[in-house]
């Protein structure tokens, strides 16, 4: 399992498409920084293909006033959870 990390919003960048294209069936994707916008109900459709494997960093949601606004399918993790995801993954790939 690989962890993919995306820091761009799907509303303004298309780098998430590259990440999704590179993902294997077990891989997970963590949204950080502006990427957390991808967890909002109006944008989460971009990540339909990886339902259940999409995460968003709590601190970045909070900094943007978006905590509690993510779609129910998104797993919100704090930075400790970010570290745990890297522990569980054999590699991490950052897309920016």
């Amino acid at each position: 399992m690989k962890l993919h990390i995306v820091n761009r919003s799907p509303a303004s960048h298309r780098v998430h498409e590259q990440a999704l294209a590179a993902m294997g069936p077990e891989d997970r994707l963590l949204l950080i920084e502006d990427g957390v916008q991808g967890g909002l109900p109006q944008l989460v459709r971009h990540f339909e293909a990886i339902a259940g494997r999409l995460y968003a960093q709590r601190e970045d949601l909070e900094a943007r006033g978006l905590l509690g606004r993510c779609d129910g399918s998104v797993q919100v993790v704090d930075v400790d959870g970010f570290v745990q995801l890297t522990e569980q993954a054999e590699h991490t790939l950052s897309w920016y």
Partner: protein
Amino acid sequence: MRYAILLMGAPYSDQASHSALRFARALLARGHRLEAVFFYHDGVYNAARLSAPPQDEPHLTDGWVALHETHGVALQVCIAAALRRGLMDEREAARHGKAGHSVEAPFELTGVGQLVDLSQRCDRLVTFGP
């Protein structure tokens, strides 16, 4: 686990440096070892010894130094990326005939080969891009 961080974003331009520092502190708090932070591309500006942000803002350079002092984290700066951005230690400043220097210990100027070495000997390498 042994971790390394690759940081490629400039401080105060984007969030990469803040994200990397927060991640570094969290992994250390979980009992992992952080072998090194490798500063590359605009990330080398994190090593600017003259950086003086407003006192009510996070001081990123001091943040990295604190990690070195408390956890022995190596702070490796790509020399090729640094020199062309005016970042150099005393030795390089003398070599290039410059009046002052902008990088000092515990930051160390090093080659990109060190990054390859880190990627091979660490269990995890996490990149923070601009």
